[in-house]
């Protein structure tokens, strides 16, 4: 049984051309999949559909064999944690309280229990947020906020993580740490889908790339194959180059 299967999924916003057309892909094992493509290629739409935020116009998405649309919301959120690009910056809660929202899919009562607090501790540790305890969310920097949101998703203890441009506000150190965390999560059995414009980092860290263009999946393969310079140039309209350093590291650059 596949972990995630997307079959012929299309989505169109009312009165506009299709944002996603005939997307088909299957994931059978824990991976880090980077979803890349120009603005408006349908990356966030795909993530929203997998998170149950939007219902596909046609086609079906299954998680561990179960159709997303017919799943109970809380059940879906115990399996899939979605982090949108932003949440309101003035949320008047502390960083711990934001992280604990990840426990809502598990909770029936009004209060967090021991398990919830243990999951929060684990998430704080994994996201290296120990020094921010008790800080109000609104007082954190953009990058710190992003890390708190990632921690909230970890606190949700879902096997599938959907991240929408988590690196957008991060400095190089934090972004490197984020990718390290994502690959660690893969190694501990998570499926991580991450929308990103940072192709070089995606190429280094992801083991699979979904390249989207105009709502269509144009490549689904490992970084070296999916990110062939000609394919990337066709999609992004700038030349790309693969390089190899003296130590044998492979990296990607772009621009004229």
């Amino acid at each position: 049984m596949s972990l995630l299967s997307i079959h012929d999924v299309s989505y169109s916003y009312p009165g506009r051309p299709a944002a996603l057309t005939g997307m088909t892909a299957t994931v059978t094992r824990p991976e880090v999949i980077a979803i890349a493509g120009p603005n408006g290629a349908g990356k966030s739409t795909l993530l929203d559909i997998l998170a149950g935020q939007k219902a596909p116009t046609s086609g079906s998405c299954r998680i561990q064999g179960e159709e997303i649309q017919s799943m109970d919301r809380k059940d879906l959120c115990r399996r899939v944690a979605h982090i949108p690009q932003t949440i309101p910056a003035d949320v008047p809660f502390t960083m711990e309280e934001v992280i604990l929202t990840g426990r809502i899919p598990y909770g029936r009562g009004l209060y967090e229990n021991e398990d919830d607090m243990a999951a929060m501790e684990e998430a704080i540790r994994s996201a290296r947020l120990d020094t921010f305890r008790g800080r109000p969310f609104s007082g954190l920097s953009g990058g710190e906020k992003q890390r708190v949101l990632v921690a909230a998703a970890l606190c949700q203890q879902s096997k599938i993580l959907l991240l929408d441009e988590p690196g957008a506000h991060l400095d190089p150190e934090n972004e490197a740490q984020l990718w390290e965390l994502l690959t660690d999560l893969r190694d501990s059995g998570h499926l991580v889908l991450v929308v990103t414009h940072h192709l070089a980092l995606a190429a280094q860290n992801a083991n699979r790339i979904w390249l989207l263009d105009g709502g269509r999946l144009v490549a689904d393969a490992g970084p070296l194959e999916a990110m062939r310079p000609d394919a990337l140039e066709h999609v992004f309209h700038v030349p790309f180059h693969w390089h190899q350093s003296a130590e044998g590291r492979v990296f990607l650059t772009y621009g004229r």
Partner: protein, 343 residues
């Protein structure tokens, strides 16, 4: 290695302390706000107004005993229930609309209830309109809004912002129809309409209070149980949906519940301004933004607030009574302005 064990123990201590502290705070807020409601409801019937002969009251003699039992007590209870309903609904709307300036009247419920009541006064035959008819008409007006909201929620996708704007538009329509009827009414009716629109806590019969309590208290309990969900809804719809909350369902259920609270009380008291706005805001500054603290504080604190306002209303110019809507608006208006300018 020892260091890591020590760190772990410290962290676990920290998080369990956090949970215990929070439960203590909830209990403290619950007890304090409940106490405020009980104390005001116990003390206020005895004070203010033209003064009471406490010896006669103690001996259960007329007229003071009758005034106390048939006028002051039901009035206090009505103020308690109305304040709790308006303030609780206000706190809920502020979360659902993610707007600190949202109040129950934004939905148009109180305007619709007023429209129903004013229509009943204007179109009735006699000069002295019977109370149950006005109450029933006001309820019909409020119910119309509830049905409209429920239909909107069931028919198509909408945002809370769309609902807010529709409510404001609906509010305007109702107010202009009230104005129209008012301008066409005779002098006696016009006085009655004006009096109703001013809003006021009047003594009502105990069976009516019972009906009101039975319809309001379950909704209040429902709102208390919703408080953790209200917290996550204030993070925005996307985040809440990603944490397993069915935002659309909660939004329209919340609007229907709020309409019931506001419609049910407004039908009896007439429109009472600002309770739903100032009480949750003042309490937010005291207990913080967590609805598990804010909701009980708003419900009990709102009740206490309106009991106090009503006591001021019947005492400050005694023996003349001023409508409680005037007292709340005179307290609430300046606060509203301050809130706008300090944001």
């Amino acid at each position: 290695m020892f260091r890591s064990i020590g760190t772990k123990a410290r962290k676990e201590g920290y998080s369990s302390r956090m949970a215990v502290d929070f439960r203590r705070r909830v209990l403290r807020v619950l007890i304090l706000s409940l106490l405020a409601a009980i104390v005001t409801a116990t003390v206020c019937p005895f004070i203010g107004g033209p003064g009471m002969d406490y010896e006669k009251l103690w001996r259960r003699e007329a007229p003071d005993w009758n005034i106390f039992v048939n006028l002051r007590m039901p009035r206090t209870l009505l103020a308690l229930l109305t304040g709790a309903a308006l303030s609780g609904a206000g706190a809920m709307f502020q979360a659902l609309l993610r707007d600190p300036l949202a109040t129950p009247s934004n939905l148009g419920v109180s305007a619709a209830a007023s429209l129903g009541a004013v229509a009943a006064i204007a179109f009735s035959k006699g000069d002295d309109t019977m109370f149950p008819i006005v109450w029933f008409a006001a309820l019909v007006g409020a119910a119309a809004v509830i049905i409209l909201v429920a239909a909107l929620g069931a028919l198509r996708k909408f945002s809370s912002f769309t609902l807010l704007l529709s409510g404001i538009a609906f509010n305007g329509i109702c107010l202009s129809l009230i104005l129209l009827m008012h301008s066409l009414a005779g002098i006696t009716k016009s006085f009655q309409i004006t009096h109703w629109l001013m809003g006021g806590i009047d003594a009502v019969e105990y069976p009516i209070l019972l009906v009101l309590a039975i319809s309001i208290l379950p909704v209040c309990v429902w709102m208390l149980r919703l408080s953790r969900t209200l917290n996550v809804i204030s993070y925005g719809e996307t985040w809440a949906t990603g944490r397993g909350v069915d935002c659309r369902k909660v939004t329209w259920q919340g609007f229907a519940a709020g309409a019931l609270l506001v419609g049910g009380t407004t039908a009896i008291t007439g429109p009472i301004a600002f309770v739903g706005l100032i009480v949750p805001h003042l309490l937010r500054r005291v207990v913080g933004p967590d609805y598990r603290l804010l909701m009980p504080a708003s419900i009990f604190g709102g009740g206490a607030f309106l009991v106090v306002c009503d006591t001021i209303s019947r005492s400050i110019l005694s023996p003349v009574e001023i409508p409680v809507g005037v007292t709340t608006a005179l307290l609430g208006g300046p606060f509203f302005v301050w809130l706008l300018w300090s944001r």
